[in-house]
Amino acid sequence: MPPSMPRRGPEMTVTESRALDEIKIGGMGASRRRVEDNRFIRGRGHYIDDVVLPGMLHMEILRSPLAHAKITRIDTSRAYQIPGVRLVLTGDMMATRNLAWMPTLSYDTQAVLATDKVRFQGQEVACVIADDPYIAKDACEAIDVEYEPLPPIVNPDQAMAPGAPLIRDDKENQHDNVAFDWEVGDKERTDQAFASADVVSRISLHYPRSHPSPIECCGSVADFDRATGKLTVYMTTQAPHIVRAAVALIAELPEHQIRIVSPDLGGGFGNKVPVYPGYVMSILASILTERPVKWIEDRTGNLISTGFARDIYLDGELALRKDGRILGVRMHTTSDHGAFFADAQPSKFKIGLMHSAFACYDVPTAHLTARGVYTNKAPGGVAYRCSFRVTEAMFFQERMVQAAADDLGMDQAEFRRMNFVRDDDFPHRTPFGFLTDSGQYAKCLQVGLDAIGYADFRAQQAEARSRGRLLGLGISTMTEPLGAGNSREYDILGIKMFDSAELRVHMTGKAILRTGAKTQGQGHETTWGQIVAHELGIPSEDVLVEEGDTDTAPFGMGTYASRSTPVAGAAVAMVSRKVRAKARKLAAHLLEVSEEDVEWELGRFYVRSNPAQGVTIQECAMAAYSNMPDGLEPGLEANAYYDPPNLTWPFACYIATVEVDPMTGVWDVLRFVAVDDCGVRINPMVVEGQIMGGLTEAYAMASMQFITFDAEGNCVGSNFMDYLLPTAWETPGWELHEVVTPCPHHPIGAKGIGECATVGGPAAFVNAVVDALGGTGVRNIDMPLLPDRVHEALTEKHDVSGAPPVKTD
């Protein structure tokens, strides 16, 4: 021990009793300014395109211009004549290494580079590795590919039509374009409920194809070192450990020689969960060239080939009693998965958590059938800012609820209130079998109604209508399952869904925390420190948070489905408690009392009989390295793997008011009130940021953002000129409110929040616009509610479908 570091005896550790102000140390409840911002506001973030390695080559991908076509010839000779071209990879070359196809996250296969035929526009056909990305792009254009066009399929009806061309002729025993059939619920009991119903309300809906479109596209830098056998891949992934496992299994490389590093991510929203062909190609290219190979996707590649979301149709029915009680729910979904079934979701559930629908309503019975089909569109089915199809479930639920209330002539708020699960009815078994555990649904609704001025608005709406102005109000209320697992029910490719944290407290009381999650803007570097501060009294500014490097982070399932706080955040609390348990032994030693006589207050242990005599957590840390009792292992660190007992169930009530211009079909948001109950909030500022971001994506989906296809299978929405995202100018202002119902099983009472607004928000807008059209007989306009669709509904007085193909002129 250096002489400057005095050995501390008990006599030196007596400190005055003090209650730490948790807010001042940046603990739970503090709107602590974010640590990560210090680099981002200086332009010093380190994103994938900022990774530069010595001798690095650049890869560009050649994509198919056709949606469905046989490949008859690929000639790369002209590409090789371009100076600076190092390698051109084609499907045949991948096939000789058994890498032309790879498994998806849904037990299907996906082409890495097409060999036999292309199955969607934008599919990867070849790639060029060159000294410079400009040269690689030039060389892509010099690759000659001959195609023999096949008829394209762009919607489920075409896919299921008799005699439809078979898209997946690569699969044995695949004789049609059906990817799966799946069902859940009690058919018999539900049939009985419908037989005894006074009223049956029916509605058919389409949730259009969308794309998460983080502002940063995907990319990777693969670096295989033949001397050491080590493969390092820097890549845009929300789940680095899953990728490491996948690479170990697919490429048959030893797992300890694979290092996946997820640098700063410029957004993810589910887009960066799957393993894409580009990553695999860059890895093989690095192995073959023995040079680091960088692949940076362009925006068109991102939009036309990487994980889409939604694209699902519903036939929904509610069995109703005259007084408004819901007696039963019937849902049939038809989902369009594109050419490969590559949904990122737990293995057991073929259509994700669609069956979480109606969890907030007290419904006796329900039955869901789901069919997934192949089409000539990009694969994916990623959970775009949602927990595996929960967005679709809650949108369908709230559109069905609105239609049912209208069919009964009931008030929208009253209908919901009557059917809510009551506060004293938890735990509650949902009609599809989930167990919800907490909530104050009626209170949240009331807070929302009071905030929007519900009665006043209805009066104003009636008065405006008499003057030809169309005002509308839309409510969306929902609870959703966030934070997969538990591990009994949730796994991806057999890997159970838990998460992890590792905490090392250094000698001077500073600490480093690593988790198996991966931040993409959610602010883990800030909020994880706040949990440590809450549990240990170490100021959060003394805690360094690191994620995303599989060589250093403990194994975890990554960040998506709002699972960071429910699972990894719980692991942070639990690992802090393990450290505290060890610190207690050190405190007892320093205080010369038995462990049972030591009490804890934030940041400090003290003697029960003499609270003035105590030691701080920092003093315990010093003792762990300089003055431990005999028999106690040195050091102050721990790791924790957390397998949640259940999902968390946040609740949200969103209310939009709109005005529709009857001349143009343009609609404006007048006000938007959001009431979120995500349990205990670690950092209110960050939580509110998540909600406002989610609401904006909800508004985007309701108003403008969708990807569609023409009859030839051309993707409409392949760049930001066609795929519209709202700017600051269009985006409405958000009014946020909160209700707090702590999660009963989470160590700090928190629930997921990152996705609630995207999940529950869209229905509020659509319900509001449909409400504004009251009296026209219009029950539905498919999203996005483009002015021409709204105008058509208003003037033709009929529902408007948005299913592809669209006409393009």
């Binding site: 807010i23 140390i25 503090a30 709107s31 602590r32 300014r33 974010r34 990560e36 911002d37 981002f40 506001i41 200086r42 973030g45 994103y47 395109d49 900022d50 090789y80 071209v85 390698l87 070359m93 400009y134 983080p214 502002i215 940063e216 596209c217 700063d264 991510l265 957004g267 929203f269 362009d298 925006r299 068109t300 209170k443 949240c444 807070v447 993409q520 602010g523 100021p539 959060s540 209110p684 500022m685 960050v686 509110e688 940021g689 406002m692 971001g693 989610g694 904006t696 994506e697 760049n719 930001f720 000129m721 995202l725 700017t727 600051a728 100018w729 009014e735 946020l736 409110h737 909160e738």
Partner: protein, 202 residues
């Protein structure tokens, strides 16, 4: 081609057309030989290692690549480097100094105007251009000035507040007067409990 990988003869330098340009970047003249087709964004990122300028869309829509060109915001992903010859370019790296941040940078941190941080440099430069010509903008003026920049994380509300915060600071008023700063006795780093304006607890 007989094997999967063959070394290709390096191109002769004379094959590539080159143009010499001098661009003042963050106050410092830089002279470079560039291919005429090289985009300004790529020159900044790869040539000058100023990686704070990001590219997000390639079509001038997202604004992540926004830089100030003679003081005006431009999308550097659709501008050629040769077009900047003889002009002044300012990137996020030139927005503040090592020890002193631009009020816009401070505002983005104080008002939680960023999450993933990818759009942030472009957003801040577009904001700087606005405040250079109007140091007391309305919310609508801020929203309009930033309508060429996309953000997928924040929903813009906090970005608008960040710019208004910066405007207040720039005008010499304590940003607290703008109604959204932390109480002075709590250092911002240590956090605060005061609710964000938009929130009324229930």
């Amino acid at each position: 081609m007989t094997s999967l990988f063959e070394e290709i003869t390096s191109p002769a330098a004379s094959d590539v057309p080159v143009r010499r340009v001098t661009i003042t970047v963050n106050g410092r003249p830089r002279t470079l030989d560039v291919e005429p087709r090289l985009l300004l964004a790529h020159l900044l990122r790869q040539g000058l290692q100023l990686t704070g300028t990001h590219t997000g869309c390639d079509t001038t829509n997202c604004g992540a690549c926004t830089v100030l060109y003679d003081g005006s915001p431009v999308k550097s992903c659709t501008m050629l480097a040769v077009q900047a010859d003889g002009h002044d370019v300012r990137t996020v790296e030139g927005l503040g100094t090592a020890s002193e941040l631009d009020p816009v940078q401070e505002g983005f941190k104080q008002e939680h105007g960023l999450q993933c941080g990818f759009c942030t440099p472009g957003m801040m430069l577009a904001s700087r251009a606005l405040l250079d010509r109007n140091d007391d903008p309305t919310e609508d003026e801020v929203r309009f000035a930033l309508s060429g920049n996309l953000c997928r994380c924040t929903g813009y509300q906090n970005i608008v507040k960040a710019v208004l915060w910066a405007a207040a600071k720039q005008r010499g008023r304590a940003p607290a007067d703008a109604g959204s700063e932390a109480p002075p006795d709590i250092p911002p780093e240590a956090g605060r409990d005061a609710a964000v304006d938009a929130t009324q607890g229930a």
